[in-house]
């Protein structure tokens, strides 16, 4: 035969896993970009439109924020990370049961499919957030107070969502009805996650109750990292990190339990 037959490169452990994840990531990206040249515009469009609409509604409602905070930016940067959290949980938790046929490729693990999908979602929302930041710098002359901290805040939302997606995804394998609760759950999470209001505006009792939700800490931190001392934030980062660690460990354990229960014959 005249054609040269491709050969695999030998490699081990971490490098192999990075390779698998990047292959899945590229596949996910190409699929979601679609075949059109402006596919990436559409990928951004959904969170962008949602973020813009919500923010416009709030800024047109005429209620001013304290300390001259720019209304549009306040809502856009509050909502988009929450949107990311929600889509990672919604889409990511489906990665377990939707991708069974990929597991015919021995190299792919459930964790790989999960990471690839959620990484994609995260990068889309990070880009949208950055666009809002650039818009804020140009239109409102707002420069992020602590850019690195802001990035860390977004990253914490993503990790929290990733862990939760793994927990829900593996729970779905054992209890199918869990699937139906995911959307209502993420929807109801919105009002108690403080993306649209500040804890400083609330009475102390409510504030303390809300701080049980790790997303609230992240959103408060994000606002301070963006707007600086015009905000009086309330957050507990070790508490958030404990949630991230807990959910991710539980999620990875869950995937291990779910894997042998996955069946094509169901």
């Amino acid at each position: 035969m005249s054609i040269e037959i491709p050969r695999r490169e030998a490699m081990g452990g971490a490098r192999a896993q990075i390779q698998v994840i990047s292959a899945l990531f590229m596949r996910e990206m190409l699929t979601r970009f679609g075949t059109s040249r402006i596919g990436y515009v559409w990928l951004m469009a959904e969170p962008m439109i949602l973020g813009t609409m919500i923010s416009l509604l709030h800024s047109l409602s005429g209620k001013d924020l304290p300390n001259g905070l720019p209304t549009f930016l306040f809502y856009a940067l509050g909502y988009t990370p929450f949107l990311m959290f929600r889509s990672i949980v919604n889409r990511g938790s489906g990665a377990v049961t939707n991708n069974i046929s990929l597991l015919f490729h021995n190299r792919i693990t459930l964790l790989d499919t999960m990471i690839a999908r959620n990484l994609m979602e995260m990068l889309v929302c990070f880009t949208v957030c950055l666009l809002f930041i650039v818009m804020g710098m140009v239109v409102f002359h707002e420069v992020p107070h602590q850019p690195a901290l802001l990035l860390a805040g977004w990253f914490m939302s993503a990790l929290l969502a990733h862990g939760l997606a793994m927990v829900i995804g593996s729970a779905q394998v054992m209890m199918e009805w869990v699937e139906h609760l995911v959307h209502p759950f993420t929807y109801l999470l919105l009002p108690i996650s403080a993306p649209f209001y500040m804890l400083d505006m609330l009475p102390q009792g409510t504030r303390e109750a809300l701080l049980w939700n790790p997303l609230v800490s992240i959103h408060e931190l994000n606002r301070w990292a963006m707007f600086g001392d015009r905000i009086n934030p309330y957050y507990d980062i070790p508490y958030v990190l404990a949630w991230i660690l807990g959910l991710n460990l539980l999620g990875m354990a869950g995937l291990r339990v779910a894997r042998p229960r996955l069946s094509l014959s169901d």
Partner: protein, 215 residues
């Protein structure tokens, strides 16, 4: 090496538990070419899925020390909204092969012409299966899993598949689960019959075929 030790696979059904595999024992090394024969309903598809690693056994253990292929010619993980080229690149990335070499190989082998750059959803079923075959042969696996399909298309293309299979199996293990007795006779050195959920091994392929025909 691929080793299955006392592998059981059971399914919970409405009228109770069904044990499809009831203690499969098999050990396969590079260069071993094993044919597995079985009547309809003997549990061949279940065995394929367990061997492929997509489903775990209910009981027993599997030791997997070589990279097994997906069932040859199967479209697992193929994204139909992507082009043939993009799917080839996915397989290349996944298995750590050169992108350009894999593209050239798959484009050439599949004979898709300009369709190689069209989304797979626009392919005819013949084109689809040619692409799947090309993708399966693009990776140099340690072991090949054959579930019936060893070739596809017209006589000429089918011949090309068989030639390529000869090339690929030289240094690899093969498990062929097939009804096609000619293929088993031609490509396998040992054979077993899957019956009552266990594998019965025979001295040579002809004996296994005789036993299978006597079922």
């Amino acid at each position: 090496m691929l080793e299955l030790r006392n592998v059981w696979k059971s399914f919970e059904q409405r009228h109770g538990r069904k044990d499809v595999l009831r203690g499969i024992n098999v050990r396969l090394r590079r260069g071993d070419h094993l044919g597995i024969l079985g009547r309809n309903g003997a549990g061949k598809s279940t065995l394929v899925r367990v061997l492929a690693g997509v489903e775990a056994p209910t009981r027993g253990s599997i030791r997997r020390e070589m990279l097994m292929s997906w069932p040859l010619g199967g479209g697992y993980g193929i994204q139909s909204s992507l082009t043939g080229r993009n799917n080839a690149r996915f397989i290349a990335r996944l298995y750590g092969m050169s992108l350009s070499q894999t593209e050239v190989f798959v484009e050439d082998f599949s004979e898709l012409g300009r369709y190689f750059d069209e989304p797979v959803k626009y392919y005819s079923s013949g084109m689809r299966s040619r692409l799947m075959m090309a993708l399966s042969f693009a990776v140099d696996f340690d072991g090949y899993l054959v579930d019936e399909a060893l070739s596809t298309g017209d006589a000429r293309f089918a011949n090309k598949c068989l030639t390529m299979f000869e090339e690929r199996r030289k240094n690899a293990a093969v498990i062929m689960i097939s009804h096609n007795l000619n293929h088993v006779r031609r490509y396998c050195r040992t054979a077993a019959v899957l019956r009552n959920g266990i594998l019965e091994f025979y001295e040579d392929v002809d004996e296994a075929i005789a036993a299978y025909q006597g079922l």
